[in-house]
Amino acid sequence: AVRAAVAAMLSLDFLDDVRRMNKRQLYYQVLNFGMIVSSALMIWKGLMVVTGSESPIVVVLSGSMEPAFHRGDLLFLTNRIEDPIRVGEIVVFRIEGREIPIVHRVLKIHEKQNGDIKFLTKGDNNAVDDRGLYKQGQHWLEKKDVVGRARGFVPYIGIVTILMNDYPKFKYAVLFLLGLFVLVHRE
């Protein structure tokens, strides 16, 4: 059955280019694919270095900050040590042990002489503050939990990310097709 499938594939024209390739050209196709992945990776890591944030671009996942941010908005973050956190400002933070960053506003701050802070957050569109979201027994957030501050945003574009996460099969299908295209197509 496998032989029949391979024989069927051989009759398809789109693989002709690949069949004509010698070892070096085949390796080059694979390298091409690797270079595209590497470039994307390097751009992401580069953004991390430049902005100082672990996650320089985040998507707003819930409507808890409406009308300022809506579900699907894309936020560009920086995380400079010099940026002071003040009441009323919007920060993006991560709760210890959870992966998903949250975008909310700072409600209260306790500040020590040496600059250490403890702060409380709340989403504009939420009825209560975030204490319910924090870890068991945790009442305040600290600087180490901050992923960054929003410096710019693009509305709605993040919906694609939300879709890809809600329908992972769709994501894998798109990635698979893109990968196949790069591997088979010569520059």
Binding site: L10, D16, R24, L31, S39, L41, M42, K45
Partner: protein, 198 residues
């Protein structure tokens, strides 16, 4: 036994060196690639030159190193979470574009074949033939340039032709070797002949 010969049979069916080249005539890069490949075939098969892979290998190595840098950055960042991995990441990120730039610079010269003609007497150094070509986007004029570097005198001579690709492909997009091969041979012979008359 039957299984092994079966697999070889499949491999033979996979390689299609003799099938005439058929491409999408509107796809500029496919056209250029097939013309380049066929010119290569003429020089390597008809005149029996030996391909020198150094240029291509160099490109492959640069690309492989770039990918390695990216992988190293990825793994380092995974093992040492973000703030500590900053210097390593910064180094990888800065060196990556440099490698890409060096690669692009090489591609600028658009040489796709370096072949050697070994001296039959075995005494003189090899003559070198280089093929480079260009086909502008959305244009139909294909330029093939053949460069001959004499092993003995180190003198360089070149010849080129610019023709419309319509002269080499039929309506279905099949490359007509009977029209293309003489052009390549003419280019080659014009350089080879000059050499003999000296």
């Amino acid at each position: 036994m039957a299984a092994k010969s079966g697999r070889n049979g499949l491999l033979d069916k996979w390689k299609i060196d003799d099938k005439p080249v058929k491409i999408d005539k509107w796809d500029g890069s496919a056209v250029k690639n097939s013309l380049d490949d066929s010119a290569k075939k003429v020089l390597l098969e008809k005149y029996k030159y030996v391909e020198n892979f150094r240029l291509i290998d160099g490109r492959l190595i640069i690309c492989t190193i770039s990918c390695l840098f990216a992988i190293v950055a990825l793994i380092w960042d995974y093992l040492h979470p973000f703030p500590e991995s900053k210097p390593v990441l910064a180094f990888c990120v800065v060196s990556y574009p440099l490698q890409i730039l060096s690669q692009l610079y090489q591609k600028e010269k658009s040489i796709f074949l370096v072949a050697h003609r070994k001296d039959p007497a075995g005494m003189d150094p090899d003559d070198i033939w280089q093929l480079s070509s260009s086909l502008k986007r959305f244009d139909d004029k294909y330029t093939l340039k053949l460069t001959f570097i004499s092993g003995k005198t180190k003198q360089q001579r070149e010849a080129e032709f610019t023709k419309s690709i319509a002269k080499f492909f039929d309506n279905n997009g099949t490359l007509v070797m009977e029209a293309y091969e003489p052009e390549v041979s003419k280019l080659h012979d014009s350089l080879a002949l000059e050499r003999k008359t000296k």
